[in-house]
């Protein structure tokens, strides 16, 4: 049983670490360095965007979210090695399912709660708003 040995069989790898055994150390490190540099740039950009006048004020949250999604993508590709190889299909599908659920929960809750708060606002708060 492969438990007692650590023989590296090319087929015996986990998701996202598919080709780990075939890379040289240099290639392995390079992958992480590129990911680190890209992520750092995007992170710095996020903090920069916060205060700059380069982006129209109301658009700042959108820019931040786009940058966040880009950062998450860099992490997924360079650190978690998600790719589109055929043996990775289950991982990509699972990720897509997770993203869908998160989107439904957050977007659905925001839509619902916004409506509820509007319609069910306590009377004293409404009167405060009139002042």
């Amino acid at each position: 049983m492969s438990d007692e040995t650590d023989r590296r069989d090319p087929g015996d790898v986990g998701p996202g670490f598919m080709d780990a055994a075939e890379l040289t150390i240099r290639e392995g490190i390079a992958r992480y360095v590129i990911g680190f540099v890209l992520a750092s740039l995007l992170t710095a950009a996020s903090f920069y965007v916060l205060n700059t006048s380069l982006i129209w004020g109301p658009g700042i949250p959108v820019a931040l979210i786009v940058l966040a999604i880009a950062q998450m993508g860099v992490h997924l590709v360079f650190f978690l090695h998600i790719n589109t190889a055929p043996d990775n299909t289950n991982n990509v599908l699972a990720l897509a399912f997770g993203v869908l659920i998160v989107a439904l929960v957050i977007a659905g809750s925001l839509w619902i709660m916004d409506h509820l708060n509007q319609n069910m606002m306590p009377m004293h708060q409404m009167m405060q708003m009139q002042r």
Binding site: G11, P61, N91
Partner: protein
């Protein structure tokens, strides 16, 4: 028998129906080297199974975070007359925390390369650095929280603060658990070496640590940066 046969077929059992010490389990079958999306090759290898199971666990964890995120998004303006984000957040601390976590993610990746090369020393060094940066992250976050509580802006002040402490705190709890796990793994590698089941656990730890950084990206963007804009 041809040159393109998998180890299985060479051993005369394309379907891996029995396991003995001589057998290598792979995700293969029917001539494919790796398990295809159709899974017709029979049961996948242990490494594939463990990695995939942990991946599903991470997705469930992300759904749990999304519930706390949703709560925070709804409660972002419920300051109940108390302090809001703009008055409370220390931007430089957030920058430092983000940097620490990102670096620790990077060094965690380096430790994976060292593990692949079966180098005990560099694996332990990289894991240690990862842990230290993770600890630094927690210290900074702890100081922020303590400062806010001192100011009377603890989680019991308003719903906004409750949701803030909860979502950021949940992440911190995960980082703490991760550090405990990291320490245990370092001990195990030291005592037992690069045994196959320990290697599988290291893969899981890597997935976990990188996922925590992904969640932090969402956290600092939505909670802190967008929150600062209000």
């Amino acid at each position: 028998m041809s040159a393109t046969d998998t180890p299985f077929e060479r051993a005369g059992d394309p379907y891996r129906v029995g396991r003995s010490r001589d057998w290598v389990s792979t995700g293969a079958g029917r001539g494919h080297v790796y398990a295809t999306g159709h899974g017709e090759g029979g049961p996948a290898s242990k490494r594939v199974i463990v990695g995939y199971g942990f991946w599903i666990f991470l997705l469930s964890d992300i759904v749990m975070f999304s519930a706390f995120f949703a709560a925070h998004a709804v409660l972002q303006t419920a300051t109940a007359g108390g302090p809001s984000g703009r008055e409370l957040f220390n931007l430089w601390s957030i920058v430092a925390q983000t940097a620490f976590l990102l670096v620790s993610s990077f060094t965690c990746g380096l430790s994976a390369v060292a593990t692949e090369a079966r180098n005990q020393l560099w694996t332990q060094v990289a894991l240690l650095v990862t842990g230290l940066f993770g600890l630094g992250f927690l210290v900074l976050e702890g100081r922020d929280f303590a400062g806010m509580v001192m100011q009377g802006a603890g989680p019991d002040r308003s719903a906004f603060l409750s949701s803030l402490f909860a979502v950021v705190g949940l992440h911190g709890l995960h980082v703490s658990a991760g550090l405990l796990w990291l320490g245990t793994m370092m001990a195990q590698i030291f005592v037992k070496g690069f045994r196959a089941d320990i290697l599988r656990r290291l893969v899981c730890f890597n997935l976990f640590w990188h996922a925590l950084d992904i969640i932090w990206v969402a956290l600092f963007t939505v909670v802190y940066l967008i929150g600062l804009g209000r």
